[in-house]
Chain length 252, copies 3
């Protein structure tokens, strides 16, 4: 039984998510649809969050992601695979981090005329294009039979840290719902005794939130393997008055 | 394995949705419960949104909808079927559009005394009446055995357009979470070169959001087959300063 | 097929819930994961709401609850069972009402070193400790094999009513999303003709919201078996200007 995860920006009041799930269940009754969220927002954040969860699922899982601000333009509809997982969604950059993590991943442009006969609306591709494509994957249909290979899938810019012998200059790439700061500096690059500097404040590297006194900030390697900064018991984003893009430096 | 969709106004902090799902799984362990939303609000909107998704699911799906502002009054508890799908919920108008789309649909008043022995609370019919009724459907129990046929199920007023030879006068019946305007004028009634008029502004009929320049409005036939108005890249409700009920005219 | 319910405070934008579900499905592919909410907030409320739904599910259901403000401190990770249901989550008091309702329930401290080999992060125990423990339960692995029995699991204070011959003094312990007030006074303790007093206002005991005129308050025995106060058609919390902790008296 194939698993299809569903993540959208459809919200919880319009039933767009329901229509997508209904189409999948109609075309692939045995598929297990797991709705991750209907509350995604930006393309950059979606790319990061998908990277957080996709590989936690069993191999063979199909990840359907519809954050699609340019639906109804000429942007292409994609399917892809890294050999272990399948991906379905618009060609707008939401799969950038998957593409970077898996340079051998293959991507295809969906040909809507090869999907099951249905009205293809111009504004609800989640229902009319992406749901059928995910159901096709679940039914074991190969992407070659309903899409054609491409080599120029859209990527969004992912800020890269600048690494020198003694210093790494990165930035905050995400703030989670707890106010924790996620930074584009890999834990592996930090060396033995790094000093983390955010807005002039030097932080030492701990292991737990509780390595700082309550209300105090701490840097640590987070669950993505990236440097994070949090407060023990409060929101770090409020404390530091920072946002996505704020620079973070590490002296090695 | 029967599918039961669940849509409520229970919110996400009180576990009322969980109690409903638990009762269903206890009475019908094989049923697949798919929670659509716990964030519905008005009866009129629920009626529209249910119409959007119900027929996307496989035939035999049971749609359980509990938006129930008059729970604990003498309002009746309903089950119904249109021959393909089953419906369970309060008799307060949420099924109006199903009834209009399927004039042959059959509706029944649930007799709570014929449901499985349980405390029937006076305030939590989702758990005590509607969940067992949905589980009964999933178990193949016919509505006649726990409910009696009625012919006077409650309907809410659904605004109808006024159609003359040269003009259709309708109104906005819903604004979705993207700010798109959904209008009670069928795409089929529009003729070849309609002009759509909202608050004095004439719009031409396009196919995609992108048929308008960025930031500009466009009219199109939406995924429900109804006329819609959107902005390419922004919220149409903000741009036009409109709400549900605002008139829309079309000259044919 | 084991059912695992999942309730967290992870929100709907970061994919933490998805990572947890993915780990469960990877370790126990046959488990049916039902996400109750990702919107829980306080420990006290979680304890109450879990008590509302846990026993509605079929026996054998595993309830995974991750409201974990002290993740990354020395707080222990728990599994427990009352003989019918299994529980997994942090040792911070969220299971207090289960412990009180089932004095014979057994509780165990998880030994993370006996969970499947994986990076155990210091900040994402939902993914790295609780999800594997829930999957173990689903796979029929006994708690003794990955955790050790304890007798001092953390409990939070649950306010108890003071009962005398003629009077019960209780308080509001929860306000639900409809604004209904839930009070720590059992329906069974109320006698024949109780008078309920909130902020100087005497209320009689009804059965339905509709036993009060529209816009008027009513007391009744709610779906938890506890005294509740609601308004027919409006929010009781706004009407009375009350909050959790506000005293309620009953004269018997």
């Amino acid at each position: 039984m194939a698993i299809i995860t569903l993540a959208t920006d459809y919200g919880n009041s319009d039933g767009y998510n329901a229509a997508v799930i209904g189409v999948i269940k109609s075309l692939s009754p045995g598929a297990e649809v797991i709705e991750i969220t209907n509350g995604f927002s930006s393309i950059a954040k979606t790319s990061l969050v998908l990277w957080r969860y996709y590989s936690q699922f069993p191999k063979g899982t199909i990840h359907l992601v519809v954050i699609d601000p340019t639906v109804g333009t000429s942007r292409r509809a994609l399917v892809g695979t890294d050999g272990n997982y399948c991906f379905v969604g618009p060609d707008n950059g939401i799969f950038t981090r998957i593409m970077e993590a898996c340079p051998d991943s293959q991507w295809y442009e969906i040909d809507p005329t090869r999907l099951p006969a249905n009205t293809v609306s111009n504004t609800f591709h989640g229902r009319d294009i992406f749901a059928p494509a995910a159901a096709f994957f679940a039914n074991g249909i190969l992407p070659e039979s309903f899409s054609k290979k491409i080599n120029d899938a859209v990527k969004v810019d992912i800020p890269k840290p600048i690494i020198t012998a003694k210093r790494i200059s990165g930035e905050i790439i995400d703030i989670d719902s707890f106010g924790n700061l996620i930074i584009n500096i890999s834990g592996e690059s930090l060396g033995d005794k790094p000093k983390v500097i955010l807005k002039g404040k030097k932080l030492r590297l701990g292991k737990f939130y509780a390595d700082a006194r309550p209300g105090n900030p701490i840097a640590y390697i987070g669950s993505l393997g990236l440097l994070e900064i949090a407060l023990n018991g409060k929101r770090a984003d409020k404390y530091f008055q920072v946002k996505v893009g704020t620079p973070v430096k590490v002296t090695i």
